[in-house]
Symmetry: C2
Subunit: 422 residues, 2 copies
């Protein structure tokens, strides 16, 4: 037995049929990573007694820790407690603490506990419960042949609420210190460029700090992890600030829209959008963030040319001679939007999202952006040859980032666009 | 050996670290389902030689089919070909067809094949290639101890393109008829209500047809599956049309926006949006669909009250006396949007998305919708007590569905809203 081997056994027919994409194991792995642990093997099975028994037999005595996920519910398909009891050669018994949990849970909902509810209080004899603050089914911990089995429910919200206790029990069993991790959200720089800049500067990079990337289009997350709370992580963070600082929009789960909202709030400013090819996506991204009403004034989705003229005052002659996808038109769209809304700053976009509508001169993926204020307005043309959904996402994200850069006095363009601007 | 057992072995460190959520196995399961097959066991491992060897040994001779996913790339971490060769006790040899594929792939990109590229042409002796129309790494098929091993790449787009050939090889080995499956997209009716209506009508439901649901907020997918092409599936579809027909928006992957675009096209009409609490999401959903410029005229995101007045002409006195979330305001927003855009039909929404901004009279989740034409305009108030993101999604979806219903002359409200309208 490898003394630190953690295995994962996921159960549920919905995981086998393809109807559910498993995100629980990713959640579990990320929780373990905070303590320096990882999942070594993962097995996924339907609600199938014979296969589950075989998998339990294989893991018990091999893995040091076995996290089971799913199969704790009230129905006959939920086999976890019964099978762990069989593997440990003990009986299922009514667990007083679990019984109280189920009854309290039902009482809080003014329902009478039925047999299905109460089934969840029958656990293998000798099991310790893992508390479930969100649902009726508790998890439990049980030693089988030297393997610590930890059972958790398949409902993601319940699992998330129970993972701290699961990790506590794992650390108690096999150790593991809370590692120091910083997650930075960036936009407009690719993994390879970021990596190359770090490599060129490697004398400032302590060997104890692990660098990781996670591409979450359109943002790129950069993770810095060290074994323990360490000044080295802060040193690396400072190095990153120096190398790619203007691309860092914030920490943890901050979005481009969230970061921009904060800057607008700090500066007491309001913004406006005038969108053609993104069709409202920039406005929707801004207003998806709570609190956006303090900084978001208005959005104009001027899809048709006639609307660009009638609503934003774009000149009809310009539309005819230069076309809707042109510098003059996006500048006039932005001017019109700023004037009509009274907002301080804004962005306007017009492009060809595809799949149709491209020409030789303006292929699918061509886009003009204008951003800024009445006094300081910029414009940029670029070509993003990708599918419609990704094109719209990238253009919208760029629009938000360009405003953020101008408000903060950062370099005008991110690496990605300074390389591609035409 | 179970003669129909299909196992899945997924490899890749990114699947263990939690950085990547595995959607490939769902894609594989859905492809197999079309032939009446399912995945019996699924094992996921990192790029770890010893564990992969053990898993291969366990599967070979046990499973009838083993689909391997991942580990076909050009780097040293990519172990699949080497390990399958070892399991089959054969050498890796340069496969002429794979070699040609790699060289053609490089030539099409005007690059000189390097050692890493060419590594992908070395396959176990006796393997048959599985063509990869999207990438440089071919898959291969190989019999090991009576188990047919099929290897596929981890890149989802490449896997998708190769699954038809994978399924062909499986059907050639173990049979399986193409099953008859209809997928219907619905909106505005819950799984339990749909199921209850079907149960009440069960005499019209042939036992051979399996009914399945997949909740894909805000849409609900209903799947009808029968063993073979059968009139019974059509009969069930007709039953569903009778029971919940106005909630069915279309087949396969159609979205609410896509369905509405089609209706607008057929009737030669154009639409407009006036959004407050959804902040542009309705417009963004419409314009995410290719071809939307033919039917989508304009969108107004009038977040601030002053903009509702200045841009859409909402009366200031009404805003003061009745508040922004009121029937009069959404009706005036829609009238203003229809007039300013010249569109035929539209929707306007104003509500409290939260988490802040609620009052006792108008709690978070309160929303007024107005929809229709200048001559036939309707309004509805409802309360959707959920989080901000889900509130915005539901309101936007409802807005699109209400227009669809009016254009098609269907019952004014879906079940979900007729139950909750206030």
């Amino acid at each position: 037995m490898n003394p630190n081997d953690i295995h994962l056994l996921l159960t549920g027919d919905e995981l086998m049929s393809g109807d559910t994409v498993d995100s629980n194991s990713s959640m579990i792995a990320q929780s373990l990573a905070a303590f320096g642990h990882g999942v070594a093997e993962k097995v996924t099975l339907g609600d199938d007694r014979a296969r589950l028994v075989a998998a339990l037999q294989r893991a018990a005595g091999t893995a040091r820790i076995l996290i089971m996920n799913g199969g704790l519910g009230p129905t006959q398909d939920d086999l976890t407690a019964e099978l762990v009891a069989a593997a440990a050669s003990v009986e299922l018994v009514l667990h007083p603490e679990a019984d109280k949990h189920v009854r309290d849970w039902c009482a809080a909902r003014s329902i009478e506990p039925n047999d299905a509810n109460l089934k969840q209080a029958w656990l293998p004899e000798g099991a310790a419960i893992i508390h479930n603050p969100r649902g009726s089914a508790v998890g439990f911990a049980m030693d089988v042949s030297g393997t610590l089995i930890l059972t958790t429910p398949g409902v993601p919200g319940e699992l998330r609420a129970m993972l701290p206790e699961v990790c506590e029990r794992i650390v108690a069993a096999i150790g593991g210190g809370e590692s120091h991790r910083v997650r930075l959200q960036t936009f407009g720089i690719g993994e390879s460029t970021a990596q190359a800049r770090i490599d060129e500067d490697s004398e400032h990079w302590p060997v104890d700090v692990v660098l990781g990337f996670r591409a979450g289009m359109p943002q790129l997350e950069i993770k810095l992890t060290a074994g323990s709370a360490s000044p080295e992580v802060d040193q690396c963070r400072q190095t990153l600030e120096r190398l790619i600082g203007d691309h860092i929009i914030g920490e943890d789960d901050v979005t481009l829209a969230g970061a921009l909202q904060q800057v607008l709030r700090e500066q007491g400013k309001k913004m406006v959008t005038a969108e053609s090819c993104t069709g409202g996506l920039i406005a929707a991204m801004m207003t998806a963030e709570p609190g956006s009403s303090a900084v978001f004034e208005a959005g104009f989705v001027t899809y048709a040319n006639s609307i660009k003229h009638s609503v934003l005052g774009v000149d009809n002659t310009t539309l005819e001679t230069e076309g809707a996808v042109s510098e003059s038109v996006v500048r006039q769209m932005l001017s019109g939007a700023l004037e009509r809304s009274g907002a301080d700053i804004g962005v306007a976009v017009s492009g060809i999202a595809g799949p149709d509508g491209g020409t030789e001169e303006k292929p699918v993926g061509t886009v003009w952006l204008a951003w800024g204020t009445t006094d300081e307005m910029h414009a940029l043309k670029t070509v993003l040859p990708t599918d419609r959904a990704m094109f719209q996402k990238l253009v919208a994200a760029a629009g938000l980032d360009l405003i953020r850069r101008q408000l903060l006095g950062l370099p005008k363009l991110p690496h990605y666009f300074s390389r591609r601007a035409i």
